[in-house]
Structures are given as structure tokens and as C-alpha cells.
């Protein structure tokens, strides 16, 4: 490209940008856009990166895409509208002028990203913003480039009149809604979601690791489309002005079609692979009654692809018959390399064959070594997302991945997210500088150990932060740290105040995981011995303010669920089934502890609070009142007695009529 050509390109770019950006409509749009962005203020508490990758960022890309179509249509038809086209066509110019003008339009569009980026910057932290900027600018720019190149190609090729504008708007609406609607039935349709709406290729902890290569193929597909539209522009110009086809344009067209076709197919095969991995085979195995009482697990990341596992298990025969096989479930991609006992591998099953049957109540120890490249993917809104993976850049292992042997105890087709409580010690070795955390307390570097643990959730990420805040072990991402610290302070006071009511829970600390990644975890996230566990998305402390009744009760209820369970209390299933008096009793305790925490255990003030609530709600919560009466009469010990009876008599409570519950509580508390 000669200097004259470059000079024309630069002049066309400069002039077009001036014409666009100097227009009062462009400036008005910026004012309107800034006002729209400000509407997000206070409604979203994500990090800068989270904002740009999800809500605000996606909205911006969607809306600016519409502006892209219109702006490009206006730009490309300007010469005709101004009757400048005949003059323009008589100049010794080529594609460089159109290209320069298109680039100017693209720059004018990218300037619209200033508002969302500035807003995201105010959310912080700065590191999060800086980490995201190249990706966001690149992807948003690519989206605008594709949309504007399409509009340029359409206007240049067919030279439509004003009806092009409603047509472009209708097309935009179609692509906004269509892929999202279709993606449920045809996940591949998510490839058409060029505005990246409704999906987030993002996690605060792992970034895009969750999505594997899919974002890459997605972007490459659109780079192909961009080149295709530019090639069409080039060919159209050459045919109109030079009466011949453009060699460069034709070559570009072939490259573009190849690139778009190839990357589209790769994206599609990614979707297909995730669909297949979602299909689980039916297990046909007779289940035995045994439990594992001790797990010694080692994850060796020396060679993360594949990762190596060592599992030493101690099993107890819980049945009345001798057992000669022990069936376990283990992810089928994990290959058993070595075992201390003969092992048979059958799809998801690992069957340990015993030469000597293990008698009723007897214990047996054995070890299994296995390895594999574990990655469990699912499709959400047409987008492939990994729930479990082991990668040198990060690790996420949930119980649904069956990454360690879990006894098959119940129905053969059930998916397990937990097993009988056991002592578990998990060590990650050769992990380099990758920090790890788990739902179990840490006892050393990358070593986690607990009694009575019924599941393990292991996470490793360069962005992971583990911090001790009083009795709370805070596990979060770097971007969420400030917010998570605020959240820890919200839990700290209630934890300290209500723990004395649960002496049998033997609470040693709270594990607070502020992740925003809860997929694959069991319901209610049962705690290991001594460590209540809270897994929650990022909430700002402002949103979790102690003055908000629903947030306060959420905190108490979350803590109480684990303290109840650690005290051997039973609860009704979380979802489904009628509300029993057991559930109402639990809710009464939540209500009682709420006012206890708020009023520092002062019975008079607690009484006043109940009366005030009764006035506001038009009636007294008799169950909570009964607990308060016990507390006023006999103090904390009496309430503990009531709680003990609740743990011990869940069936009695389930069968109790609602209206009899206050009396039951008073009686259990020894009311005179």
C-alpha cells in the first residue's frame, strides 16, 4: 500500500470521524447513553470485570450494536444523500476510502464504551478493570465491527432506500431474541447470538476457564464474518468502479468463508460434546450397605493433564452379611492405574473385589490410584459451561463430578452430591503457585481435613484469596475481596452471639465462601464437623445491611441450618412437601435468634421488639413468643433444652398441629 493510498485512508478516516462525532445527534446519544448507564448505579454490586462481562457490559454491547447498524447505514449512504457520490466516484480512489470511513465509524462506536467502562471503574477494583479492558474492548469492538461492516455491505451492495433502517432494526431485534429463544432446543443457535446477550463467559474466580475454547471459536467465527462483509464491500466496489472482480476481495472472501465455517463447526462440536457428556449411562449394580469412614485423598498436579489421584479408603460393612465386593462411583474419564485390591472398572463404576469377604461391622482399608483429564461440561442457555475441571490454570471439583470414589448406596440411577459423613483429609501437591481452598478447614498448605464431612468442594485459582476474619475463614476471589470482607463482618456478630445456644455443634469457626459459583454443590451445603459453611454469591454489605429484615433473617437462617445439623438436628427437605411443625419450629428459632442478636439478648427489649412487630404485622408470632417467654423465665439454658428436644423429636414435631406448637415449646422449656 503506497503512501498516497495511506494518505487517502487517513484523510477519509479523519473526515468521517469528524462528520460523525461532530454531529449533534451523536453528542445527544452520548448524553442519553450516560444517563442509561447511571441507572445501573446501586443495582449491581459486581466487580468492574464482572460488570463488563455480564449485566452492564452485555447491555452496552447489545444497544451499541443497534447504533452500529444505524450509524454505518447513515455513514455509507451519506454521499448519496448529499449528492456527493458522482464526484466521489470520479476520484482516483479505491477500497481504502470506504475502509477508512468504516474504521472511523467503528471508532465512533467504540467511544460509546467510555460510559460503561467509566462506570465499571467506579465499582473497582482497578486490577479487575485492567484485567478486563483488553478482552472487553476487543470483543465489543469485534461485535460493532461485524454489525457495521454488515450494514456497509448491505447498503453498498443493494443501495436500499430509507426502508433499510426499519429492516436493520427488525434484524437486530431478531438476533437479540432469536438465539436466546432457540438455544434451549438448539444450543448451536447460541452461535448466532452475535451481541453476546443473556450469556456470560465469565467467572470471578476462573474468568473464562469455565468455557474452555468456546469463546475463542465464537470470536473467530465473527472475525470470519467480519472479513466476509469486508470482502463483499471490496468486490462490490471493484465491480462497480473498476468493472472487474477484485482479486484481493475474492481471496479474502475464500479466507473469510473458510474461517467462519471452520470456527463455526468447532463451536458446534463443542456444544455437541457437552450435550453428549450430559447423557449419563444407567448403572446396573446391586448396591451393598457399607460406608467409607476415612478418606485420604491426594491430588497430584505435577502433570495436570492428566491429573493423578491417590485415594486411601477405610470402609465398614454396615450390613448383617459379609461383603465380597464394594461398588463405588467414579467419573468414567478417570482411569484406575493401580490399586491395593483387585478392581474392576465398568463405566462409572469401580468395583473392588475382595479375596476375603469383609464381615458385618468389620473394617477394610485399601488404596486406589487413578488419573485423567477431568472436565465436566453442561449447556446453559446454549452456552457450554464447565462445572468441574482440572487445568494448570485452575481447578474446580464438585461432588457431581465424582472425582473420588463414593459408595453406591441407594438407587442405581441417582446422582450423588454427598455421601455418609467421613473423616476426610485432602492434599494437593505439586500445584506450583496455584492457591487452593475447600469446604473443609485448612490444616496446612493446600491440605484440608475434617471429620464428618459428607462432600468435598475443591477450588484452585490464581485469583483465589483466603483470609481469616476473626473466627471466619473467608474464601473469595481477589475482585470480590472488599465486598466479601464486608459480608464476613455481617456474619461475625450473629455467629458469636448464637453459637452458645449450640454447644453440641462444637463450633471452631465459620467457612464463608463468597464465590458466585454454586453449580454442582449439594443443597444446604452441609458442614463438616465444627465448621459451619456458608456458600454465597457476592452481596455488597450495603445490600446485606443489618437493618434489612430479610437479609438479617437470611444470615441467621443460614447459620442456624448448619448449627442445627452439627447438633444432629433433622430438617425437612428444602423444597417440596407440606410445611410441618418441625419447619415452623425451626423458623421460630430463627425469629427468636434474630431478635436475640439485634437486642444483645436483653429480654425486655426483645419483648418490645416482638410487640412492635406484632403491631406492624397485625398479629403475634406465638411460636417465637413462646421461646421468648422461656428465655425470660429461665434464660439461655432453658432455650438450649428446647432446641435439644427439637433435635431429638423431629417426628413428633412433624406430626404436631400448628396451633399446638407454642404449647409444645413451653412444655419443652419447662414453663411454670
Amino acid at each position: 500500500m503506497g503512501s498516497l493510498t495511506l494518505n487517502r485512508l487517513w484523510t477519509a478516516f479523519r473526515t468521517e470521524f469528524r462528520l460523525l462525532a461532530g454531529n449533534w445527534m451523536y453528542l445527544s446519544l452520548h448524553v442519553l447513553w450516560a444517563a442509561l448507564v447511571l441507572m445501573f448505579l446501586g443495582h449491581d454490586n459486581r466487580s468492574a470485570q464482572g460488570l463488563l462481562e455480564t449485566t452492564l457490559g452485555r447491555t452496552a454491547i447489545g444497544l451499541i450494536s443497534l447504533v452500529s447498524l444505524f450509524l454505518a447505514a447513515i455513514s455509507s449512504s451519506r454521499s448519496n444523500r448529499m449528492k456527493f457520490h458522482e464526484l466521489e466516484d470520479s476520484f482516483p480512489t479505491g477500497f481504502e476510502v470506504i475502509f477508512g470511513r468504516w474504521l472511523a465509524g467503528l471508532l465512533a462506536l467504540v467511544v460509546f464504551l467510555v460510559e460503561p467502562i467509566a462506570f465499571a471503574a467506579t465499582q473497582g477494583p482497578l486490577t479487575s478493570l485492567l484485567a478486563e479492558l483488553p478482552t472487553y474492548l476487543g470483543e465489543a469492538g469485534l461485535t460493532f465491527a461485524v454489525a457495521s461492516a454488515f450494514a456497509w455491505a448491505l447498503m453498498s451492495w443493494s443501495r436500499p432506500g430509507r426502508w433499510a433502517y426499519p429492516l436493520l432494526a427488525a434484524g437486530w431485534l431478531g438476533f437479540l431474541l432469536g438465539p436466546t429463544i432457540l438455544a434451549d432446543r438448539f444450543p448451536f443457535a447460541s452461535l448466532l447470538n452475535f451481541m453476546r446477550q443473556g450469556v456470560s463467559f465469565y467467572s470471578e474466580l476462573w474468568g473464562r476457564l469455565l468455557y474452555g475454547d468456546q469463546p475463542f471459536w465464537f470470536n473467530l467465527f465473527y472475525i470470519g464474518l467480519l472479513l466476509l462483509f469486508l470482502a463483499i464491500l471490496m468486490i462490490s466496489l471493484s465491480s462497480r468502479r473498476f468493472y472487474r472482480s477484485s482479486l484481493v476481495g475474492s481471496v479474502l472472501l475464500i479466507i473469510a468463508l473458510t474461517l467462519a465455517g471452520w470456527s463455526g463447526m468447532r463451536y458446534g462440536s463443542g456444544v455437541q460434546a457437552a450435550q453428549i457428556s450430559n447423557t449419563f449411562e444407567t448403572l446396573s449394580i446391586e448396591t451393598n450397605s457399607f460406608t467409607v469412614t476415612d478418606y485420604q485423598l491426594i491430588l497430584d498436579l505435577k502433570d495436570a493433564q492428566p491429573a493423578h489421584f491417590t485415594a486411601e479408603l477405610t470402609a465398614v460393612n454396615q450390613s448383617s452379611d459379609p461383603l465380597d465386593t464394594l461398588p463405588f462411583r467414579l467419573n468414567p474419564v478417570l482411569t484406575v492405574t493401580d490399586a491395593s485390591l483387585p478392581v474392576e472398572r465398568r463405566n462409572e463404576l469401580v468395583i473392588v473385589h475382595l479375596s476375603q469377604p469383609v464381615g458385618p461391622g468389620e473394617t477394610l482399608s485399601f488404596s486406589i490410584n487413578y488419573q485423567g483429564m477431568l472436565r465436566v461440561e453442561s449447556i446453559s442457555d446454549g452456552v457450554v459451561e464447565a462445572s468441574d475441571f482440572i487445568d494448570p490454570r485452575g481447578v474446580r471439583l464438585t461432588p457431581t463430578a465424582n472425582w473420588y470414589p463414593v459408595p453406591i448406596l441407594s438407587g442405581p440411577n441417582m446422582k450423588y452430591t454427598q455421601h455418609d459423613p467421613a473423616h476426610i483429609r485432602l492434599t494437593v501437591i505439586n500445584s506450583g503457585s496455584l492457591p487452593f481452598a475447600a469446604n473443609l478447614p485448612a490444616v496446612g498448605e493446600n491440605t484440608f481435613e475434617a471429620n464428618s464431612a459428607s462432600w468435598v468442594f475443591l477450588i484452585g485459582s490464581p485469583r483465589l484469596v483466603v483470609e481469616q476474619v476473626g473466627d471466619i475463614t473467608l474464601i473469595t476471589s481477589r475482585a470480590d475481596l472488599e465486598q466479601a470482607r464486608g459480608l464476613a463482618s455481617v456474619f461475625e456478630d450473629p455467629l458469636r452471639k448464637i453459637t452458645p445456644f449450640f454447644p453440641d455443634a462444637k463450633v471452631q469457626g465459620l467457612i464463608l465462601m463468597v464465590l458466585g459459583e454454586e453449580g454442582g454443590l449439594p443443597g444446604r451445603t452441609p458442614p463438616a464437623a465444627g465448621y459451619p459453611l456458608v456458600v454465597t454469591p457476592r452481596y455488597s454489605p450495603a445490600n446485606m445491611s443489618a437493618t434489612l429484615s430479610s437479609s438479617r433473617q437470611f444470615v441467621i437462617k443460614t447459620l442456624l441450618t448448619d448449627l442445627w445439623s452439627l447438633s444432629d438436628g433433622k430438617l425437612d427437605p428444602e423444597y417440596g412437601g407440606p410445611i410441618t411443625s418441625l419447619e415452623r419450629a425451626f423458623q421460630a428459632v430463627v425469629g427468636f435468634l434474630d431478635i436475640y442478636v439485634r437486642e444483645d439478648g436483653n429480654p425486655e427489649r426483645m419483648q418490645a421488639l416482638i410487640q412492635s412487630d406484632a403491631q406492624m404485622q397485625g398479629g403475634v408470632d406465638e411460636d417465637r413468643l413462646a421461646l421468648l417467654e422461656i428465655y425470660r423465665q429461665s434464660g439461655q439454658e432453658a432455650v438450649k433444652n428446647v432446641l435439644n428436644q427439637m433435635y431429638q423429636k423431629p417426628d413428633e414435631l412433624r406430626g404436631l398441629p400448628y396451633e399446638a406448637l407454642p404449647q409444645w415449646i413451653r412444655s419443652a422449656g419447662g414453663m411454670r
Binding site: 498516497l4 494518505n7 487517502r8 484523510t11 477519509a12 473526515t15 462528520l19 461532530g22 454531529n23 451519506r78 448529499m82 449528492k83 456527493f84 458522482e86 464526484l87 466521489e88 466516484d89 470520479s90 476520484f91 482516483p92 480512489t93 479505491g94 476510502v97 468502479r241 473498476f242 468493472y243
Partner: protein, 296 residues
């Protein structure tokens, strides 16, 4: 710069806009005359590479307009019949932009833009937005842009339409001056524009070339065929239908007129010396008669 047109035909679907035109323009200022719809603009659009011919060949200098349109454009200054500019740019900015498009080096561009603005008497309006220009000012700016890059060929299509008499004279003089060292092709249906400045001309009529020669030769086409008559008003309608009227005026219940006729239309008609317009009308009318005879 010579222009050679050989057997040029242009069809718009079934309509033939140009029919086997062959023409040689040696240089200087050359006029293209013809009524509206004669095919002048189509011919100019082909010469300026905006339109591809259906058949035939056109060479501008050594360059074929189809094979090498880029080279032709590099040597071309064009003023279309109906044109506009980016309204929010000033006259200077607009010309600077066009100068860059015409490959005028950046170091010379400002000087050249100022010079052309001076030539078209717009220097004082250089910083004014084009959108605020009157029709005449816009036309002058159009000329200015055609001059940018010092083109060897200037093609102007109906350039004096919308100009006041003073501007028109000024414009003709400018074109004459420019034609001293380059080819200027002026297309118009206003004979006076050609009469004042062209050394050669061609007449197009219904897509055909019906005359090619000097203005004097065109005048000769009407020699001995232009008559001045003075008739009573009641006899005028008959005469008006029978002979092509070149001009007429009413004088004291009499009509004084100039007519085109091969023989004296009646006793008392005075033969007079024809002008270019008379020659043009003679060519057009004779073509029409020939056609009527042919189809008759």
C-alpha cells in the same frame, strides 16, 4: 489530451441512450450540445468512468476508460450536473478532502486549495460551511474542486445552470482560460455557452451524433435558411405551425419573427445571417425531418 470515441453504444435495458457514437476530440475547449435527453450526460458519465459502455471503445489520452479507469480518474476534473458536498464542512475543508482524494500531496494541498478558491472568487468564504452556500457559490465550489490536482481533462456538465449572467460570463472566461493548456469538455443545452468559448463542438440528438465540427461549420448548416418575417397577428398561427420559429416578438399588432426555411416562406421575408443557435436548430430540425421521411 485527446479523446477518441469509437462506435460507442450504451443501453439501459431496452432503451438505447447512445447509438454508435464515434467522435474525436483533439483538445482545447470542446462543446457538447443537445436537447434534454439527447444522451449528453450518459456520454459524459462514460468519459468520466462512472458508467461502463455497452459496446464500443473510449480512450482518454492513451488510457481506455474500461481497462484503466484509475488512470483516467487521476487525470480528470469533473463537475456533474447535480452534485453536493458534505454540508457541515467548510469550503476549505471540503476542498482539502477532495485534494487528498485526488492525490494532491499534503505539502501542496493548502496552496492549491487557496489558489482554486481564488480562481472561483470564494477565498473570503473559505471558512464558511458549505451547507450555508447559495446555489451559485456551490456551483463555483464545484468548479474549484474540478480544478484541484491540475487535471489534464476537465469535464463539466451543464455548469452554468443556476448561475446569474455575471457569474455565467465569469465562468465561461474561466473555462476558456483553462482550455489553453488542457482539454475542457463542456456539455450544455445553452448554445450561448458554447458560442462564447468552444473551438469545436458536437451535437447529440436522441442518442446519435448529428453534428461534429467547428462552431462556424454549425452556423453554415443554417446558411440561407434563416428568414426574418413581419406578419399580421391573425396570419401568425398558420406560419408558426408550418416553419420552425427561432425567435419572435410582437410589434404593433404585427409579429416579427425569425424562421427556419429552405426557401423564402413568402414574399417579403428577408434572408438574414444565421448564428450558432440557428445552426444548431437547423441540425436538429433536419434530423427530425429525415427521421420523419425515413419512417414515413
Amino acid at each position: 489530451m485527446k479523446i477518441s470515441i469509437h462506435q460507442l453504444t450504451k443501453n439501459y435495458r431496452k432503451f438505447r441512450a447512445l447509438d454508435s457514437i464515434s467522435l474525436h476530440i483533439p483538445g482545447g475547449m470542446f462543446g457538447l450540445l443537445g436537447p434534454n435527453g439527447a444522451g449528453k450526460t450518459t456520454l459524459l458519465r462514460i468519459l468520466t468512468t462512472l458508467l461502463a459502455p455497452t459496446s464500443g471503445q473510449v480512450r482518454i489520452g492513451e488510457f481506455d476508460v474500461v481497462q484503466n479507469p484509475g488512470a483516467v480518474r487521476q487525470r480528470l476534473g469533473y463537475l456533474p450536473q447535480d452534485f453536493g458536498f458534505y454540508r457541515s464542512l467548510t469550503a476549505f475543508e471540503m476542498l482539502d478532502y477532495i485534494g487528498a482524494m485526488k492525490n494532491v500531496p499534503a505539502s501542496l494541498r493548502k496552496e492549491q486549495v487557496m489558489k482554486t478558491l481564488t480562481e472561483v472568487n470564494l477565498l473570503e468564504e473559505a471558512r464558511r460551511k458549505v451547507g450555508t452556500f447559495s446555489g451559485g457559490m456551490r456551483q463555483r465550489l464545484g468548479i474549484a474542486q474540478a480544478l484541484l490536482g491540475n487535471p489534464e481533462l476537465i469535464v463539466v456538465d451543464e455548469p452554468t445552470a443556476g448561475l446569474d449572467p455575471e457569474e455565467r460570463i465569469r465562468f465561461r472566461n474561466l473555462l476558456s482560460r483553462l482550455a489553453q493548456d488542457r482539454t475542457v469538455l463542456l456539455s450544455t443545452h445553452i448554445v450561448a455557452d458554447i458560442e462564447a468559448s468552444c473551438t469545436g463542438l458536437a451535437v447529440l440528438y436522441q442518442g446519435k451524433l448529428v453534428f461534429n465540427g467547428t462552431p462556424e461549420a454549425l452556423i453554415d448548416q443554417a446558411k440561407g435558411a434563416v428568414w426574418q418575417v413581419d406578419v399580421p397577428l391573425d396570419a401568425w398561427p398558420k406560419l408558426e405551425v408550418k416553419y420552425p420559429v427561432l425567435s419572435s416578438r410582437m410589434l404593433n399588432r404585427h409579429m416579427q419573427a425569425r424562421l427556419l426555411a429552405i426557401h423564402s416562406p413568402f414574399n417579403g421575408a428577408q434572408p438574414i445571417e444565421p448564428g450558432l443557435e440557428d445552426g444548431y436548430m437547423a441540425v436538429i430540425k433536419s434530423t427530425l425531418v429525415q427521421k420523419e421521411v425515413h419512417y414515413g
